[in-house]
């Protein structure tokens, strides 16, 4: 298994920076919520009502944004045996295999994106149990994440199609 792909990451520029800091800030706020929950429950003996919900959804946003960033940087875990097998193979086979992978991933991402948008709209009027936040806001994390994933995959697909031969040569 490897986090490093043979392919170049999809450059998202400023969006990548926003994603990275956004996800990190969500994780820090999640950390603060969980710590506050423990301190108020065990030290001050006055449990907070909102901290668990806040922690769960901050973590969810952090994971959703981080996962999109990992797609842009091609850092998701994968078995990389195919890279070695195709390193010396014909150009067309190399390009086809990677394009196939990107296309099926793109199809799956579009399906999730459609579902996430539907759920965001459907639950926009429903409130969470404790926090004054709409349930749709939680599904919005998935919709935002998959919209960025789709963009990254589309950029990668074009890049592989155009530069497949050069990428293959780099592997040798």
């Amino acid at each position: 298994m490897s986090k490093n792909s043979s392919l170049r990451p999809a450059p998202l520029g400023l969006l990548e920076t926003i994603l990275e800091h956004g996800a990190t800030v969500c994780l820090i706020l999640f950390f603060v919520s969980v710590v506050l929950q423990v301190l108020f429950r065990y030290v001050l003996e006055a449990p907070l009502t909102w901290s668990e919900e806040a922690a769960r959804y901050l973590n969810l946003w952090s994971v959703a944004l981080g996962a999109a960033l990992a797609v842009a940087r091609r850092e998701h875990l994968r078995v990389n045996v195919i890279d070695r097998l195709l390193a010396g193979g014909p150009r067309l086979l190399y390009t086809s295999v990677h394009c196939f992978g990107l296309v099926v991933t793109l199809v799956f991402s579009i399906i999730v994106f459609i579902g996430a948008v539907y759920m965001t709209i459907d639950r926009w009027t429903v409130s969470l149990t404790v926090l004054p936040v709409r349930q749709g806001f939680i599904y919005l994390a998935l919709a935002v994440s998959f919209s960025i994933i789709i963009t990254s995959l589309a950029i990668q697909l074009v890049a592989v199609w155009r530069t497949g031969y050069r990428e293959r040569s780099r592997l040798k």
Binding site: M1, S2, K3, S5, E20, A23, T24, C26, L27, I28, F30, F31, V34, V35, Q37, V38, Y42, E52, A55, R56, Y57, N59, L60, S62, V63, A64, L65, G66, A67, L69, A70, E75, H76, L77, R78, V79, N80, V81, I82, D83, V97, H98, F100, G101, V104, T105, V107, F108, S109, I111, V112, I114, G115, A116, Y118, M119, D122, I138, Y139, L142
Partner: protein, 430 residues
């Protein structure tokens, strides 16, 4: 046909190099397209299932465990732990190899991932052993093998993942890992003692009581981290997530305010890197939630159980076959991914054969840890080759004998389930 789509397609997509998270998603969607029609894929249900996979309070322990391990590695605590372990067992023959195992055992109480131990503490251990005259192969191999203790002792990322997927108590499973983790350390130290005697490895001078006390004082505050984490879970005072939160806060105070080895900017960077690791692991878990839901709806675990029981329904035969399967998977796929894919299928099988899912969780993680030491995709081996200049092939050869003590512990755990289950049963009155 159903099994072929859900399992066969997944295997093919993994081999084709599609990231595990998307291989799980694509096979799930393909199954839905075949069974319901391409124009009737319930995209809202797909989104819901993925979201549910990320939304659990127990799951929040994962980023906290990852954060504590990373922060402890970055804060220089590992040097203090190594110094303390050296003062304790450094005077035995092959002392630094024993120190290596003991330091990993202590660090395992703070870190939940083998690669964190191998790449962080491992770099210090290998450097010290090389300077003391140990050969590179042996130093790297002891470090690789001892890092496997990390995911067995609490806090453990693989055990939390398994607990959530198998529906067993996170606290019980983490506690169940204590005795197996200590057993693994003892088995590795026994093997080191054998090699030290056979090869007449170096002996360090015995530390006097004063040195021991000084090193203990130096490491004392750091040693409290596993006490807080494991102690909080053991006594039932905290849930795994709460214990992770308290340990994280303590680690921040220690690293930033007391030791002052981590600046606020560096702390932010540690959060940033934890975020990436956490997102990658939890995103797989989220999509695996969709996949496992479909596996259960398609009754795949029942088909697999029926297929295996056609040959034998004897528990020992079933568990042996499952271990062989996990060893095979461990050679090619990381433990995190295997747990996500295999747990929903294997747990019902083990239950039907009369096994205990809590006990099986420990068996599964220990078995998968062996895979971390085997080619072609041992993650620990990659981590070690990154911190040393040892070629991969040489490391593979030299680490192979260390699989024997780990496998011996696995056999013990399979034969005597009480080694894993007695402590949680007693403490939490399961």
């Amino acid at each position: 046909m159903i099994v072929a789509i859900l399992i066969g397609v997944l295997v093919v997509l993994l081999i084709l190099g599609i990231p595990a998270v998307f291989a799980l998603g694509v096979s799930s969607v393909l199954y839905l397209a075949v069974t319901r029609g391409i124009d009737a894929i319930p995209s809202a249900v797909v989104a819901q299932r993925i979201l549910y996979g990320m939304d659990s309070f127990a799951l929040l322990a994962l980023p906290l465990f990852l954060f504590v391990g990373r922060l402890m590695n970055e804060s220089g605590v590992t040097n203090r732990l190594f110094g303390f372990a050296k003062a304790l067992v450094g005077h035995f023959r092959g002392g630094l190899a024993h120190v290596n195992v003991l330091a990993s055992l202590i660090f395992a109480g703070m870190s939940g991932a083998a690669t964190a131990d191998a790449a962080g503490l491992g770099a210090i251990e290998i450097k010290a052993m090389r300077e003391a005259g140990y050969d590179l192969e042996f130093s790297a191999s002891v470090t690789a093998a001892s890092s496997l203790i990390g995911p067995i002792l609490p806090p453990s990322v693989p055990l939390v993942l398994y607990a959530i997927l198998a529906g067993v108590s996170v606290n019980s499973l983490l506690i169940a890992g204590i005795v197996p983790g200590i057993l693994m350390a003892l088995a590795l130290m026994s093997y080191v003692a054998y090699v030290a005697h056979k090869r007449q490895l170096p002996v360090d001078s015995r530390h006097n009581l004063r040195d021991l006390l000084v090193s203990f004082k130096d490491a004392f505050l750091a040693l409290l981290t596993p006490v807080i984490l494991v102690g909080g879970i053991l006594t039932g005072a905290f849930t795994a997530t709460e214990a992770g939160a308290v340990a994280s806060l303590y680690a921040v105070i220690l690293a930033v305010l007391i030791y002052r080895t981590v600046s606020w900017a560096k702390l932010y960077d540690i959060f940033r890197r934890t975020m990436m690791d956490s997102a990658i692991i939890m995103f797989i878990l989220a999509v695996a939630n969709l996949y496992s839901w479909l596996l259960i709806r398609a009754r795949v675990p029942v088909f697999v159980a029926d297929f295996i029981f056609r040959f034998s329904d004897n528990y020992w035969v079933v568990i042996s076959l499952v271990i062989l399967f996990l060893l095979f998977m461990g050679c090619f796929v990381s433990a995190i991914v295997t747990i996500n894919i295999a747990t929903p299928v294997l747990v019902p099988l083990i239950k039907a054969a009369g096994g205990d899912p809590l006990h099986f969780g420990i068996i599964m993680v220990v078995t998968l840890m062996i895979g971390e030491l085997t080619p072609p995709f041992g993650m620990v081996l990659f981590a070690i080759t990154r911190v040393t200049d040892i070629p991969f092939e040489r490391l593979v050869r030299s680490v192979a004998p260390f699989i024997i003590p780990v496998a011996a512990v696995l056999v013990l755990l399979v034969s005597f389930p009480g080694l894993a289950t007695a402590v949680p049963n007693w403490l939490l009155q399961r």
